[in-house]
């Protein structure tokens, strides 16, 4: 129960961060991907802020060997760099560039009942289902 409460708060922070950072606005995301046009650097600041906090947190927690609910901090071992990783990332990037949505912001936009998100998220689920059906859940 306590674990689920912490998980809920974690999700709450994540969702708030997406909204505050402007990443739930597809036009701003496309502005970042429009590298050769009217470039908007906001997404770089979002990723930078997230990486600093997350990376520093992981570093400190690993050093102290802290864990929560019996979980140690994952090591972050790299999977082999295979064709599925590259092809998947390319397909994701294409979809990202088409709609300006990645999974988190699209799901957060369900809260605002945005029509685009209401279409995007079920179709994303279909795509995920197919990929997992064909390639397995862990590739």
């Amino acid at each position: 129960m306590k674990k689920l409460l912490v998980i809920f708060i974690a999700g709450l922070l994540f969702g708030a961060g997406l909204a505050v950072s402007g990443m739930t606005d597809p036009a701003r995301v496309i502005g970042f991907l429009d590298l050769f046009g009217n470039w908007d650097a906001t997404l770089a600041f979002v990723m930078g802020g997230a990486l600093i906090v997350f990376g520093l947190g992981v570093y400190l927690l690993r050093k102290k060997g802290v864990c929560l609910f019996g979980n140690a901090v994952p090591k972050g071992e790299s999977d082999p760099i295979c064709r599925n990783l590259i092809v998947g990332a390319i397909l994701f990037g294409i979809g990202w560039g088409i709609g300006g949505f990645c999974p988190g912001p699209a799901i957060a936009n369900l809260a605002a009942w945005q029509t685009e998100a209401l279409i995007f998220v079920p179709m994303m689920a279909v795509g995920m289902f197919l990929a997992q059906r064909i390639f397995g859940v862990d590739r």
Binding site: F8, A27, F54, G93
Partner: protein, 146 residues
């Protein structure tokens, strides 16, 4: 550039990004798993027993956090459909690509971009550079043909 000249979107980006990092960190600590959104969502479509509840709770938190900010922070509520994409078909196709690609590639902006890179995983760095490059090219091509 003085501080007053820095676009407010960059400041909001840093603040929001920090919250994203904090949420991911807490999610990782509490679940013991990499809390990437595509993995959390995708694995709900093929549930294994005892592993679904925390995923649902995390996503409910995400939606609630978004809702609170949409209704209380003016700048957070901005939602603009990008130029030339005013069609639900566009978002349907984009959704298919994003869903299939993230599960085939094993992560999205949060799983690879924040968590994986933050943990120093080489595959996540490669994946992030790849999907960003694909996004740059896609938008450039889109702009060239519309």
């Amino acid at each position: 550039m003085t501080i007053a000249e820095i676009p407010s979107s960059y400041i909001n980006g840093l603040i929001g990004g920090s919250l994203i990092g904090l949420g991911s960190l807490l999610g990782l600590l509490a679940s013991g798993k990499i809390p990437g959104i595509s993995g959390i969502f995708g694995r709900l479509l093929r549930p294994t027993s005892g592993d679904s509840l925390w995923r649902v709770v995390y996503l409910l938190g995400l939606i609630s956090g978004g809702a609170i900010c949409f209704y209380s922070v003016e700048s957070a509520a901005t939602f603009r459909i990008p130029e030339g994409r005013n069609s639900l078909l566009v978002f349907a196709i984009a959704g298919l690509f994003v869903g299939f690609g993230t599960r085939l590639g094993g992560g999205c902006t949060s799983g690879h971009g924040v968590c994986g890179m933050g943990l120093g995983s080489r595959d996540s760095i490669v994946a992030t550079l790849t999907f960003m490059a694909a996004g740059f090219v896609t938008v450039a091509v889109w702009n060239a043909f519309t």
